[in-house]
Subunit: 266 residues, 2 copies
């Protein structure tokens, strides 16, 4: 029996997920303005303590890719930082350098710190940094240990996963007791196609969908991020009344509901 | 012979200092827009890596006083952090808890990290956190060791220094080989008196003045700080042509000039 049947839910359900909260004021402001409950917080981000919401997760951070703002690890592991003490700017450098035990210590610290700020419901990871199979094992084990639902896509195709990681990941994913979701992410689409992408959701067949957006307010701080155009495009589209009408045709699932189904309320 | 004589400078010189760079995009943006060279960077701040300038110092951080954005220590000392892992929100808590050796390790880490980002010329401290006399001794020793000019006011009166710290500080200050400056800080004045404060600088007698401002751009992110009004008041006043005219009557001293006079160029 799949998750939607277990929950007694309609055949089209949507987890509408706001990525990268806690990084900038503009992302947090968009989360407040849009009013959707689900998103995840970058705990090493300067604005992590400013997020308040009903269905927040931990957006595990192991890379810091822009010139500014930048983020530093919470724990002292040397393999987690560049020469200036920040997380590495690239996934490739991170995957080459990161020592397993230092990553586990850092991820635990981020989850523990998150629990001081809000009541987390789920786990996911910035830039897919935990896709190295030994790190993915830690990610899934910590999810189980902390009773936080981990994001697991139903397929690894089209996500840019390095081919060398695929066999190990497939083995791990085949045996975990967590739901898998159909992953939708308009991040790479040109901004002018964004409204069309959201309106086309009306045509989706039944399924459990997970839609990642990166909405940010159109402010000078938000526009200091090199990829601000795609963030504003999400924000404008998700503010549009026609998109709201399309979204209202889905069951609005939250990770909190999934978590309660897996482990009971807490 | 005082510093101005040694430097062969006019009898009215001004170090116009921009505090709290690196904390928000709005502070950094004001620094770029105003074009004055001197300021200091909060290295644990998210935007520290985004500051570029000719006369930047290290604004040593040991407290994090707002609900958001918040800052974490770079080093693991337990006495430097609250339960969520941030620097303490109040000076009183910090002064009560902070262990000397953990503070020294953190201050060294901030200076070393700053040197990876820019070429620092001077040291000062957020909220006066190093005024506890044993910490002030570390501050002055690190300044000497790293050849960074430390901010030292010519008088401790009116700065809100706890009376218990005064005897120890006076003893330290009497023997250090650094210049002392006349400290001016309009932060606590009502914003509507700010323009008048800056215009009145025209009436100052001869001296070596150090004027702290906290200019920030008028943006949503800048206005998320509880004290945004005083920051914008500095920004608007320092953008005003009449204030610019008054400032042009002072010799525009930099910490880099002072540093070169103390230790030679580097």
């Amino acid at each position: 029996m799949d998750l939607l049947e277990r929950l007694g839910l309609p055949r089209r359900a949507l987890l509408l997920h706001h990525d990268d909260l806690g990084l900038t004021h503009a992302q947090n402001g968009a989360y407040e303005a849009l009013g959707f409950p689900t998103g995840s917080v970058m705990v090493p981000g300067a604005w992590a303590s400013g997020v308040r919401g009903e269905d927040l997760g931990v957006h595990l951070v192991l890379t810091s890719e822009w010139p500014a703002p930048r983020m530093r690890p919470l724990t002292p592991g040397e393999s987690l930082r560049d020469e200036a003490g920040y997380f590495p700017a690239s996934l490739e450098v991170f995957w080459r350098k990161a020592r397993l035990e230092e990553v586990e210590r850092e991820l635990r610290a981020q989850i523990e710190a998150a629990k001081r700020l809000f009541s987390p419901t789920h786990l996911d990871t910035h830039q897919g940094a935990v896709l190295r199979p030994d790190l993915a094992e830690v990610y899934l084990r910590l999810a189980q240990e902390y009773r936080l639902v981990p994001l697991i896509p139903d397929s690894l195709e089209g996500l840019g996963v390095p081919p060398a990681f695929l066999p190990g990941l497939e083995t791990l994913m085949a045996r975990v007791p967590f739901p898998r979701v159909r992953f939708l992410d308009p991040y790479g689409l040109p901004p002018e196609e964004r409204l069309g992408f959201y309106l086309d959701l009306a045509n989706l067949p039944p399924g459990l969908y997970y839609l990642v957006h990166h909405s940010a307010l159109p402010t000078p701080e938000g526009r200091a991020l090199p990829d601000w155009r795609t963030r504003e495009a999400d924000y404008f589209a998700l503010s549009h009344p026609e998109v709201r009408r399309v979204l209202a045709e889905f069951y609005p699932l939250t990770w909190r509901t999934v978590r309660d189904a897996l482990w009971g309320g807490s």
